[in-house]
Symmetry: C2
Subunit: 424 residues, 2 copies
């Protein structure tokens, strides 16, 4: 296959006609396919159905003297704290186990900073003129929506293959108005990059000018390999504490992609001092989270080893889906040199950079042919990708056959928009 | 029995000595009893255990095409909306079905007003110098903690036997800084008062100066009779709409005292216009609430009639507990004329007004004898009861035998503090 940039205009016109014919054929099928969100597929949900059946007798609801069916213990069941501490490598006393959503725990923590101020805040952030926030890009659209909601000024920092560009980050934190930073340290959303040890060390040892700087550590994919064995990760809480930054770090995780996405359990891990400060403030908004569901997860997941065994079964379902996407891209797109993409081994996404100025057009063409993708620009603050290039592919939801159809359409859309851009 | 106020000093001293001896005997038992919070008792929890077993097959998790195990539908399962609409008498489209906590839904709604502003707000409330809030007293301590958390100025309004003093309320709402009002319209916390039709009509037809006034309608005990048949209540959403106040009303309820207190399902009912405004803002903080637990409740509770049948079984457990408390008060306290209390037929509390200046002392004596009660002052904003008189009794948690011990101790503490106050 000839690279598109090296084709003559005639060759491009011929290629366009051929691809357009194929695309029109696909469009005529009237498909409805979805690669928009990192939703687990039905096979993954069916695999964990025993979760619903582990609680049988009233005795199963007891964690020592504590009846998980009743009110109380805003910071979660002791047994659930032990489970998450085992998975994350931190201490149970550092875990706040909440409801079904780690996003909500992240939002709530920032919301406490905004309404009440944090442990080391001079005042609530809503009383400040400007709050700035570091956003590695491309990143997770829902993170950006949270900081946008509070009116923070989001500062994009480019990702490298080792994580965010730390030279830039270290410059930015000298500004006391810079109050926090988003991170997905393992299999970043969308690129699937794993932060290097060096990047993690530089982050943990930062000395931000803001005394209440929040290093937001969304460890959403901490045990979520799909193409390799489990890769251990360092306990970020210990590392921050070593550098005198114990109260700077807020780590989050959940079972949303371990058990049921809509009915899992989420955790926040942070210093005991932060929890002593936050627990009573969170207790204003809720008496306690769903401890019955926490108990269900304790009985079902048991511990780290047992959880990792379950994750290997998820891997078996996810691997063929990611391969279907990457194989199609390797075959159809790579030789044409019209896009770059990474080859993640964990997480839930493939990130692709199309020819600058073609992402929006590509997704428009996809939509017309019945393929829903994450919106162009979504991986950037305010939904604006300055290069109109990044596209997030989420292969987890559709069965492999549907995925193959969807990615075939997507490849044709990439080709058409590239040819249009190059000129016909 | 002679009234304490009519006793001679010698008689009071003799009475004090006798009561003190009884109290010391009770204290020596080293009991640990709790009448502090409106927690359902173990028998109530054991009664609803089938809740955990209604979901069996993957097909049970489907609400039409919607798989409740996966992400999505921030405003809840359609079937859960229908269930709550049936119970509350409103429309399914007016229901936002959330997580396990109605308090959290209340907090979140006010938090949206504070951070983002509401549908009819000129600006977010955090940008205002003063926000005032009407608090019927005595009231629910957790409500007051929420409005205190946001720094609102809480204005206490006395309760009458028909609900809050409406003449005062109608004066207060002329101030545009008055942005909202707490209400527990049926079996108020703590007094168990049911708002009269006239009070409800006056509230629904109010014309507050603030365009974004929130009539907070915590219908926590909407189906929670314990000493009479179910008493129907009017749909407050329709009533407000009749008076042109559709967007002023925010109603809340939950299954916390129907199924599991810590693992129920909560609902907010408000106008469709409010929901259209709020849904995307709430979606910033969470992808979706636990729809599996919603589905469990749909299958278990089925509809209003079936829910009311279950409530009659709760009634059978609760009635003897309330009678144990009221009988003891009637026997030991009423003849002495040292306290007034109401005789609720629903809700979770008995409210007692001790001799002014003796509530704190009474509860101190209770604590010394191992009986934990709701803190004195808790039923007032900022925890300050100007008369140091109101005490909330929560009889639901202990078994009847323990309750009889606890209330016997409480009666002696009331007597001792009254005698101390009258002078010995």
């Amino acid at each position: 296959m000839k690279k598109y940039a090296e084709m003559t205009p005639e060759e491009r016109r011929a290629e366009y006609a051929a691809v357009k014919a194929a695309y029109d054929g696909q469009k005529a099928l009237g498909l409805k396919l979805n690669m928009a969100r990192g939703k687990p597929g039905k096979a993954q949900l069916d695999m964990v159905m025993d979760l619903s059946h582990v609680l049988k007798e009233p005795a199963d609801y007891m964690d020592g003297d504590l009846d998980c069916r009743n009110y109380g213990n805003v910071d979660g069941l002791p047994a659930a704290k032990r489970l998450f501490a085992d998975i994350l490598g931190c201490k149970p006393e550092q875990c706040f186990v909440g409801g079904n959503s780690s996003l909500q725990l992240m939002f709530d923590t920032i919301s406490k900073a905004y309404i009440n101020g944090l442990l080391h805040s001079e005042k609530p952030w809503c009383k400040l003129d400007t709050v700035k926030w570091i956003c590695p890009v491309p990143g997770y659209d829902r993170h950006f929506k949270v900081t946008e909601n509070f009116g923070f000024e989001m500062i994009p920092v480019p990702m490298t293959e080792n994580g965010p560009d730390m030279d830039t980050v270290e410059q930015l934190i000298r500004d006391p108005a810079v109050k926090g930073m988003w991170n997905v340290p393992k299999y970043s959303n969308p690129e699937g990059i794993v932060y290097s040890d060096e990047t993690i060390r530089r982050l943990a040892s930062m000395k931000p000018a803001a005394p209440d700087f929040m290093l937001m550590w969304d460890n959403a994919y901490c045990v979520h390999e799909f193409d390799c064995d489990f890769r251990p990760f360092e306990d970020i809480l210990s590392l921050c504490a070593q550098y005198g930054n114990a109260d700077m770090i807020y780590e989050y995780a959940s079972t949303s992609k371990i058990t049921f996405p809509g009915a899992g359990v989420a955790v926040m891990a942070t210093s005991e001092a932060n929890l002593a400060y936050l627990n009573p403030i969170i207790n204003v908004q809720i008496i306690s989270y769903d401890k019955v569901n926490q108990m269900r997860h304790v009985k079902f997941l048991q511990d780290r080893e047992h959880t990792l065994a379950l994750m290997r079964r998820h891997t078996d379902i996810l691997r063929p889906k990611f391969h279907a996407v990457l194989d199609a891209l390797d075959r159809e797109i790579r030789p044409l040199e019209i896009a770059q993409y990474n080859r993640p081994v964990g997480g839930y996404f493939v990130s692709l950079n199309a020819m600058p100025g073609t992402a929006r057009r590509t997704l428009e063409l996809c939509k017309e042919a019945g393929v829903t993708m994450t919106g162009a620009g979504a991986t950037f603050p305010y939904g604006v990708d300055p290069n109109d290039s990044n596209i997030r592919i989420a292969p987890s939801l559709p069965p492999v056959e549907e995925l193959e159809q969807a990615i075939a359409i997507f490849c044709n859309c990439l080709k058409l928009s590239a040819l249009e851009k190059l000129g016909l």
